[in-house]
Amino acid sequence: MNQPEIDNVPSAVRLSPLGWLRKNLFNTWYNSLLTIGCFWIFYQILRNFLSWAFTNAKWAVVQANFRLFLVGRYPVSQSWRIWIVFGILAIMAGLSWAAIAHKLPSKLNRWLPWIWVIVFAIICWLIGGGSGLTPVSTNLWNGLLLTIFTTIISIGLSFPLGILLALGRQSTLPVVRWFSILYIEIIRGLPLIGILFMAQVMLPLVLPSEIRLDRVLRAIAGLVLFSAAYMAENVRGGLQAVPRGQVEAARSLGFNTLLILLFIVLPQALRAVIPAIVGQFIGLFKDTSLLSLFALVELTGISRSILAQPQFLGRYAEVYLFVGLIYWVFCYSMSLASRGLEKELDVGKT
């Protein structure tokens, strides 16, 4: 076999800064033109933006309302509870990552979904209070807190529903299959705003008058109904990716359908769709901004109420840019994490 020859690359091969510019920006006349054109546009935008940001912009609106953006009117005396919640979430995210990358003892791995369920309950209790803690009404959960809370709860609840719908869509029973398809396709054909409208207006009408859901719960119901249809399609992709041979092998070992599903198909399918689910999580995180149209005060909603403060009237650009930055940091870091996960999953496959 040939040994790869590692020589010292002559200096001519490594590009000098000038050579780099030539190769990457000015290699042909139209590229040079493009470079100059783009640079000019970029420069104009940056110059105008910076001169605005440092002279005309009044960032006091952000400083004065920082707390409102993050947790809204959540009582200051109780904010330690939120810190604990974020601590727990960080630990759980780390654990889940490690589990996906196969770096955890398998016992812990198996219990992780149940731990998540328990953590869910604890988080709800920590934020909402009751049984020992001071109760905090849902209309005080605002800002980023509400955005994150509704996203996590909605994804969490739509997950089992989505799996059921995906299985239903693959079912050999025609009635079950058609129910699932009908649900999935109708929901996916409608705008989220329409579904939230339905949840706000129709839910109270179709539920017995004794049951009164507050706005937050109705919004979450809408998000779950919406998200489940998309979740089902993602899970279906994963189900289809499991080779037929797996099912046949399991069947020939004498497993029944339910066991095959639980031990062979779903574990492989769900692992394969983790990146897609993270993608859906990012989408839902952005979509919660629509709740502001239904008088919920999540991140977008609270910026609207901050803009109504008399001393900060008209400070749209500052507020929206700041809020946009918060959304961006979360979504971008999650999409980076998702790409990292995808690599880990590929490694796990071989």
Partner: protein, 246 residues
């Protein structure tokens, strides 16, 4: 004017992939009408070398001149050379969304600015020459490997190149299809086409090559007529290589 000058002149060509030194100073001249066969173990740099002839690969040191035009970073030269150099790939690289006929007429129409009728006429002649006239309206996916490779040869010929490069043209083919492709190449060589062929087809080399070359680790280690190459190799490396493929 340049009829006497060699069509390819490569002098001390070096290439690095990052830190990996693929070509370590290769010099070669190819005369008009010559059929050159390049052999060598995988990773020896032979494909990389002929791919520098039409600038599919850049080189970092040395000089390559094709038909009197120097290959450098000048885009115009690169385009001029690519019009004159035909290439046939190991994986055929036919355009799957176009019919056989469209595959062949695409470049004559868009690069040589021929009329569609003229280009199609030439294409049909070429298809007849490579023996698959009846497949003209099919898509590449409907043809066998051997037929696809013959279309690829016709596609390159349609540009009326002064030299044809073949990058392992039969390696991706099933054994029973190798012959039909080699026959076309043989015919082409006999018509006087200048050809540089990277291939391990010993019979082809013996029959038509004017020179056979062995490359190893980015260098030319042996060069000679087929007789010299196969019967009286100079270097130990060549003897070792021949014992593996013969």
């Amino acid at each position: 004017m340049q009829e006497q000058k060699p069509i390819v002149i490569a002098q001390d060509v070096h290439k690095w992939y990052g830190k990996f030194h693929v070509l370590r100073g290769v010099s070669l001249t190819v005369n008009r009408g010559e059929v050159l066969v390049i052999m060598g173990p995988s990773g020896s740099g032979k494909s990389t070398f002929i791919r520098t002839f039409n600038a599919l690969e850049e080189y970092q040191k040395g000089k390559i001149e094709i038909d009197g035009i120097t290959l450098g970073h000048d885009l115009r030269n690169i385009e001029a050379i690519r019009r004159e150099v035909g290439m046939v790939f190991q994986q055929f690289n036919l355009f799957p969304h176009l019919t056989v006929l469209q595959n062949i007429t695409l470049a004559p129409i868009w690069v040589r600015k021929r009329s569609k009728a003229k280009a199609e006429e030439t294409a049909m002649q070429l298809l007849e020459r490579v023996g698959i006239l009846e497949q003209a309206q099919k898509y590449p996916g409907q043809l066998s490997g051997g037929q696809q490779q013959r279309v690829a040869i016709a596609r390159a010929l349609a540009m009326q190149p002064k030299i044809m490069l073949f990058d392992e043209p039969t390696s991706a083919l099933d054994p029973e299809m190798v012959r039909e492709v080699l026959d076309v190449m043989l015919q082409l060589a006999q018509e006087g086409m200048t050809m540089v062929v990277v291939s391990h087809e010993v019979s082809f080399a013996r029959e038509v090559a004017s020179r056979v070359i062995l490359m190893d680790s980015g260098l030319i280690v042996e060069s000679g007529t087929p007789d010299e190459f196969f019967q009286r190799p100079q270097s130990e490396r060549t003897r070792q290589f021949l014992s593996q493929i013969l």
